[in-house]
């Protein structure tokens, strides 16, 4: 809590989202109807194992849905963001934007 009684922007942050790669997963899946595992891996520069671990965290938090299927004979894993995931992403991006705004404000004030 700040001196003015205003909540600090980080107070609403969900630690499961406040992580570069998981935030990246939510950002990409929010931009598309669904994203394929391989696309996420390449776009985020992760190994398959690490991406799986991040997806497990988000899936258990109800922020993404993981769907398995086939494209011809090739197995495909698709990731879809949920409403809860979109809300968490909006909160996180809002908090980051507010932090940047405060930082700029304090820098302009010569603090």
């Amino acid at each position: 809590m700040s001196q003015t009684g205003e909540l600090h922007p980080t107070s609403g942050i969900d630690e499961r989202v406040h992580q570069r790669h998981r935030l990246g997963i939510l950002t990409i899946t929010a931009e598309a109807q669904r994203a394929e595992f391989g696309y996420l891996r390449d776009a985020l520069g992760l190994t398959a194992g690490n991406l799986s671990r991040h997806l497990t965290v988000l899936e258990e938090a109800g922020m993404v849905l993981v769907e398995k299927g086939y494209a011809g004979r090739r197995p495909r894993t698709w990731v879809r963001i949920t409403g809860q995931g979109r809300a968490a992403l909006a909160v996180e991006l809002g908090a980051l934007t507010e932090l940047v705004r405060r930082h700029k404000q304090s820098a302009a004030g010569g603090i």
Binding site: H18, T27, I28, A32, R34, Y39
Partner: protein, 264 residues
């Protein structure tokens, strides 16, 4: 921000304080990265050149149905036969267009929408990100089926209140299907989150409205086109080919841009 090997919290638990502090990075940098990721994903999934070209081709292919030589006798025949079967899709058969135009557009619009669905599905499989094009497809399909069925319901059931939905002069030249394509493109622009496609869709809608309400041949006459006595049946073609040209040029441009982005 944690590194790739940062231990994950147990399921259902928030990360510990050390992990939390490791996750904190410069907010501006993180926001910049997310903006870049969003932009790259958007560019990667853009694939709207295909529906633009497809519907441009379908409009061009409809041109023969707008060339007719039946004259007023055809109109009389249609009116005597008990009304117009599908005026929203086919205009007024025998007056300005062929009596088969409505059937052409019913099949062409539904086939175009089906091909667009298959196209976006193929793109999603190849690139790995899917565009939520479903709403655009549903919009096009619903409008097509309404345009097909409402006049029939109105005639068969004598449902007078349906007349309030009559789009007036927009159906005279048989170009109402161009406006159904407009609606689909506008919804697709929203789905693609593409400002360029939104601009294309708005320009095309303007041209389609002009083609529906005005004889573009008048402009062609002023530009020096002087059709001979045997060519008068062709004078309705500018109203068909100009909107098609807008889609084909825009689709060609979008193809080049999207190919350049993919190869970059």
């Amino acid at each position: 921000m944690d590194e790739e090997q940062t231990p994950e919290p147990a399921p259902g638990q928030a990360p510990g304080p050390d992990q939390g502090s490791a996750a904190v990075t410069e907010p501006a940098e993180l926001l910049g990265e997310m903006t870049l990721l969003r932009r790259r994903t958007r560019v990667a999934r853009h694939a709207y050149w295909f529906p633009l070209v497809l519907f441009g081709v379908l409009i061009c292919a409809s041109a023969p149905f707008y060339i007719q030589g039946h004259g007023p006798s055809g109109t009389v025949q249609i009116l005597r036969s008990g009304g117009l079967p599908m005026p929203l899709l086919g205009g007024i058969p025998g007056l300005l267009v062929s009596r088969y135009l409505g059937y052409y557009w019913l099949i062409a619009l539904l086939a175009g929408l089906l091909l667009t669905v298959l196209w976006y599905r193929r793109q999603a499989g190849q690139i790995g990100v899917a565009t939520p094009a479903r709403r655009a497809i549903i919009t096009g399909a619903v409008l097509t089926l309404l345009a097909f069925s409402l006049p029939l319901i109105s005639q068969a059931g004598h449902v007078s209140w349906l007349n309030a939905l009559w789009p007036g002069d927009l159906v005279l030249r048989g170009t109402f299907p161009f406006l159904i394509i407009s609606a689909g493109l506008l919804v697709l622009a929203w789905a693609e989150r593409s400002r360029a496609l939104a601009i294309i869709a708005v320009v095309y809608t303007g041209v389609a409205l002009v083609a529906s309400l005005y004889d573009i041949e008048n402009i062609a006459f002023r530009l020096g086109w002087n059709p001979g006595p045997g060519d008068w049946d062709l004078t309705s073609l500018p109203n068909v080919l100009v909107p098609a040209l807008v889609l084909l040029i825009a689709g060609g441009g979008a193809f080049l841009v999207q190919r350049r982005h993919r190869s970059a």
